[in-house]
Amino acid sequence: MPDTVTVSAPGADAPLVPLVGWGRTAPTHAALLPVHDDDDVRAAVLAASGRGVVARGLARSYGDAAQNAGGTVLDMTSAARVLQADLETGLVDVEAGISLDELMNRFVPQGFFVPVTPGTRLVTVGGAIAADIHGKNHHVAGSFGSHVRWLDLLTADGQVRRVSPESDPDLFWATVGGMGLTGVILRAQVQLKAIQSSRCLVDTDRTPDLDSLMTLLTETDHLYEYSVAWIDTLAKGKRMGRSVVTRGRFAKIDELPAKRRTDPLAYHGSVKASVPDVFPPGLLNLATVAAFNEVWYRKAPKRKRDQLQSIPTFFHPLDAVGGWNRIYGPRGFVQYQVTVPFGQEEAMREVLDRLSSFGTASFLAVLKRFGPGNPGMLSYPSPGWTLALDIPVMKGLAGLLDALDEVVIAAAGRTYLAKDSRVRPETFEKMYDRLDDFRAVRSRVDPAGVFTSDLARRLAL
């Protein structure tokens, strides 16, 4: 008598849970399945229903990238170990679920910083690769994918492939920036950046308008490793684009004050307080945000040099407040982030101008210059200006952002998938000229379309 083999379909019994991104918009229901090792992932992928699978990390994508309505979503955050670390070279092998926060906790005291960090430490390495995230050092260091030596990818056939830019450039560069749609990233080798201290030397400048801001960044950005400008989007007319520019680099030991030299790599990253989930819609209105922006602009020094700041203060100010996305209330918010090439400054001005006159109660917007991009097929950064701002969901916003998309397309610009939650498929196609290459890789490694997400469905990727 043959043995009876019971094939348990993992996730078949998992209850459907509502999932949202950081913007807390457009919730959909999926089976959320924690995975701990390759076997868990393989079993879930092979047992996937027609609604498919996507991996989810710390859910800092603003929109629907880590949602999969009616299907399976893999919670990757349990597989978060450091597998190997070479403290000579700074090469670390890690599981994809590890956060940049944890990498900093482990390696800053050893003299290494993550190669690229966005405005939050609370993202996973898997997510950082899938979104090919960028940070304040993009103009000199590029995006996260450029610091990945190889990654282990579990593809739709259940095989684990070690993919590097040399072994399979197409699959590697489809996965970097590929939003999890080529497979599940299990592990990666990342090149960390050597630092002598955990302190940054920061220069602050205030600029009265957009022209002076762009001039300042164009002329002197190359002198700094990290650079970003915060714009007051509510300032109109002559003051439109007034901003505070903070730029810096890691301090060397001999640049620290004597008392800090004994423990130059001391580091404490922690969430100080959490925002309760009780904020009413409309709390952030023109009056409250304008007042905040005014205070914030005035309190910044006009010009300050070589100020010592900690990593959290310089890189992740918002991480001090857990769940800050809740202040936008139950209707949630979107982040509009777009980039246009150098020479298209007028388009950027028009976008900013129309957002300012629309009167969205937007906190500070971020403007930055990108350096060269990488070969990532859906990777966002490319040489030019990038603007990002949070906007609460409000009447008329859908039409405004659709109109701004047209301005961006006309300027040969694009939108950032990790932030997007509302762009149209026809619009997206015009923004990424390597979309067909990406689709070709996907049909090679995932012909049945096992890997999918709400974002993939919405944009017909």
């Binding site: 457009a26 959909t28 009616g70 469905r457 919405r458």
Partner: protein
């Protein structure tokens, strides 16, 4: 998918040639192109509606649907979903009937109950099954203020809408936790081809106003909307009017 700002990428119109269904499609198309499935009987009007929506930027798919045929709802939903998820489905078919005839003609009463109550509940069940497996979606059901408290002048129609309203309100609650939601729309007198030749009732409205209420209701995640909004308070008053007074009212 319905995006972060409440814009769907596909719309199923069940009873796709109704004025309210058509106005809803036009309203969505005024914002963005989208996929529209027109489910209706094969008539010249269906072709005209499909052509108009196509010209307005929709990717149109036409599907047969007959409220008299018990097998039709399942087939219609399957065909509509074959090309992709259904984000928003508007259940907009129905008959007003001839009130005088309906007072005494049992066959006509059975026919009206089939089209206005039985078929919508079957369609609602098929749509809910499909959307539950999608993990998302919104079902919009066209009820009527006539169902809130049926009156002597058109109580058969009112009773079918009362049944439909109860079904979709209950379906809405049963779908909590599935990712699917239901919007019950209660318009007053709508000037449309259904009411052609009738005198306007107080607070009469238009298909365009109903469409606006549907789009806003879906966007805001509402469960019930009255069109016009004042109808809610009028009907609340009428509901509590003593019968002796209510039956004498000239409505």
């Amino acid at each position: 998918m319905i995006d972060a700002l409440g814009s769907p990428s596909s719309l199923l119109l069940v009873g796709g040639t109704s004025d309210i269904a058509l106005a809803t499609a036009r309203r969505y198309l005024s914002e963005r192109p989208l996929r529209v499935v027109v489910a209706a009987r094969d008539t010249p009007r269906r072709s005209a509606v499909a052509a108009e929506l196509g010209a307005a930027g929709a990717t149109v798919q036409v599907v047969d649907f007959d409220a008299d045929d018990p097998a039709s709802p399942a087939r219609m939903v399957a065909e509509a979903a074959a090309a992709g998820d259904i984000d928003v489905a508007v259940v907009a078919f129905g008959l007003l009937g001839d009130a005088d005839q309906l007072r005494s003609d049992a066959t006509a009463v059975a026919q009206l109950a089939q089209v206005n109550y039985v078929a919508p509940t079957v369609v609602g069940t098929e749509l809910a099954n499909r959307m539950r497996s999608q993990g998302h979606g919104v079902i919009v059901a066209l009820s009527s203020v006539a169902g809130e408290r049926p009156r002597a002048s058109n109580f058969v129609y009112g009773s079918t809408k009362a049944g439909l309203d109860a079904f979709y309100s209950g379906l809405s609650d049963s779908l909590v936790g599935s990712g699917v939601s239901v919007l019950v729309v209660r318009p007053g007198f709508v000037r449309s081809k259904m009411t052609e030749g009738l005198d306007d009732a107080p607070l009469a409205t238009t298909p365009e106003a109903v469409a606006e209420a549907i789009v806003t209701g879906v966007r805001k995640g509402r469960h019930t909307v009255w069109v016009p909004g004042a109808m809610r308070w009028v009907m609340s008053g009428l509901r509590h009017t003593p019968r002796a007074v209510f039956r004498r009212l000239p409505i």
